[in-house]
């Protein structure tokens, strides 16, 4: 006979855990519905099985991490809302690439914020990566073109482009980003461009809107989920996986250069449940 009788309190407890992890109402209801179906099918007969089944359901929603080709000359474009952790994450990524014997250039294309150049220069130094500071003015698309062009002409393997933080709802800034993207795609059609969206794990369901808008603007390939060393669970990325099929590839777990992990579905769901 079933130990987990599917009592209302049991489902309510599960619902609470999921909601507290920023999984959002709709996705939580979807997950619980699937769980109830499996309880009905007699698949689950114990409390431990419930948790395992839940983890399975969530893992089925998440996509497998997607990575750029390490051995290919390529552009890595990094975007996201203000303060999400783009510049810091670029430092970590650059360091990882350099440790894997790649020659890395950082394109300082945040031409707006105070001390943005100073900040990325320090990260470049820490990561043994060259930092390209745009020479000809503040237009981000031109800065990106310059950075990648310099990188190609000087034999760099990866050109990582840092962009200014922006609200996904700011039309002018999103148009600016779209223009930067289309310039890179049109001027360098044979160079693979890998597009990373940086998402702060403390954000709530607004990340879905962020992901939609940035995906439209710069064809986001994957998510870099930062600040997972805090108490936030980052569950909103499950909804993003479900609705936009976007994978998560990297996780930020601190402010030091080493604090970068490859996304692991198992560790992620373990921290939620």
């Amino acid at each position: 006979s079933a130990v987990f009788g599917g009592k209302r309190e049991d489902y309510e407890f599960i619902e609470e855990q999921l909601l507290l992890s920023d999984i959002g109402v709709e996705t939580t209801q979807k997950i619980i519905k699937k769980l109830k179906e499996r309880v009905k099918e007699g698949v689950i007969i114990g409390r431990e099985n419930i948790v395992e089944e839940l983890k399975k359901i969530i893992k089925e929603i998440l996509k497998d991490p997607l990575y750029f080709d390490l051995d290919e000359k390529g552009i890595i474009l990094v975007s996201g809302v203000n303060g999400s952790g783009k510049t810091t994450s670029i430092g970590k990524l650059a360091n990882y690439l350099v440790k894997n014997e790649k020659k890395v250039l950082l394109g300082a294309c945040d031409t707006f914020r105070a001390a943005a150049f100073d900040q990325i220069e320090i990260w470049g130094n820490r990561a043994n990566s060259f930092v390209y500071l745009p020479q000809n003015g503040k237009e981000p698309a031109a800065a990106a073109f310059e950075s990648v062009n310099y990188g190609i002409e000087n034999g760099y393997d990866k050109m990582i482009i840092d962009t200014a933080g922006r609200m996904h709802t700011n039309k002018n800034l999103m148009d600016e980003l779209k223009k930067l993207y289309s310039v890179l795609k049109s001027k360098f059609p044979h160079i693979p461009l890998f597009s990373i969206l940086v998402i702060d794990a403390t954000n709530g369901k607004n990340t879905l809107h962020q992901a939609k808008n940035f995906k439209d603007a710069v064809n986001v390939d994957t998510i870099f989920l930062t600040k997972m060393d805090g108490t936030a669970k980052g569950g909103s990325v499950i909804t993003i996986a479900d609705e936009l099929s976007l994978p998560i590839s990297f996780v930020g777990v601190g402010e030091s250069i080493e604090d970068i992990d490859f996304f692991d579905k198992n560790l992620f769901v373990d921290s939620i449940l």
């Binding site: 909601l19 403390t202 805090g230 108490t231």
Partner: protein, 290 residues
């Protein structure tokens, strides 16, 4: 949007002529979902809806012919009351008056320090910005450049002991007739004991008259955890919510205010020096309820 959401329920209620306990249950569940979808913390939502239930029952909505008006008004009024509590003014006490800005990484503290300094100029105050983040790459340069760009006063220093640095700033302020100091502190996790102790030490040494928690309005469920811990550590005097220029409902605001019972004093809606405004409870609640 709250009216659209309830129109189905209410038209059912209207047709029956009075509200039953079951109808109220359904309505309260809808309010719960609305708040959860606005990113309000799950436990805060439950507390809020439970106490709302008591308010409504007390108002004899069961016999009212306009139940939707009573219920929506109750939600609105209760939220406005919550957000109106406490002292929403900034108080300058001491010479110099010291204001510290604290919070998680990337919430907007440095930018907000600049905005406050600019605002205080309008109040006729002579404000000195003190760089208290000795960890983040180019934090000093960021505050310095922000000050230069906006004609604000910046405390230049090479003192790497933070307590000594602030002492130097106080001395400088007294000699140079600055009546206000704004401390831009480093972003930190509320679970970082060492860094939370640093904040406690600043609080003990300098007793700022305002200790402001700068909260990112994009924050989800975690808002309660961080705000509560900062408040327990240094007894914050108020909150500033940033990034309100996005399309998020900002439910974190309710989570924060309800859990720490401190007022939101200002909100920020952009990156420019003037993008700061006083917090108005009724305007915020209309946005929250969509």
């Amino acid at each position: 949007r709250i009216t659209e959401r309830f129109s189905n329920i209410f038209s059912k209620i209207k047709n029956k002529g009075k509200v039953t306990e079951d109808d109220l249950k359904v309505t309260l569940r809808e309010i719960k979902l609305l708040l959860l979808e606005a990113d309000v913390n799950y436990r805060i939502v439950n507390d809020f809806v439970n106490s709302l239930k008591e308010d409504i029952v007390g108002k004899e909505v069961y016999r009212s012919l306009k139940p939707e008006h009573i219920i929506i008004k109750s939600v609105n009024d209760k939220l406005v009351e919550l957000f109106s509590a406490g002292d929403r003014e900034l108080h300058f006490k001491g010479n110099p008056a010291i204001i510290s800005l604290v919070g998680l990484q990337g919430s907007g503290k440095t930018t907000t320090c600049g905005k406050l300094a600019k605002l205080f100029q309008k109040y006729g105050r002579r404000t000195l910005l003190v760089p208290c983040d000795i960890k983040r790459p180019a934090a000093y340069d960021q505050l310095k450049q922000l000050s230069e760009k906006n004609s604000l006063n910046f405390f230049k220093t090479s003192q790497n002991d933070l307590i000594k640095r602030i002492e130097d700033a106080v001395g400088f302020a007294l000699r140079e007739n600055f009546d206000t100091l704004i401390l831009d502190t480093a972003g930190r996790l509320h679970i970082d004991e060492e860094l939370m102790d640093e904040l406690k030490r600043i609080e003990t040494e300098f007793k700022p008259c305002e200790k402001i928690f700068v909260g990112d309005s994009l924050t989800g469920q975690d808002a309660v955890n961080s705000a509560k811990t900062f408040n327990e550590m240094i007894n914050i005097t108020g909150v500033i919510l940033t990034k309100m220029d996005g399309d998020q409902k900002g439910g974190a605001a309710l989570s924060i205010v309800k859990s720490v019972e401190k007022p939101i004093k200002f909100i920020c809606k952009g990156e420019h020096i003037d993008d700061i405004e006083k917090f108005y409870p009724d305007r915020f609640v209309s946005r929250l309820l969509g």
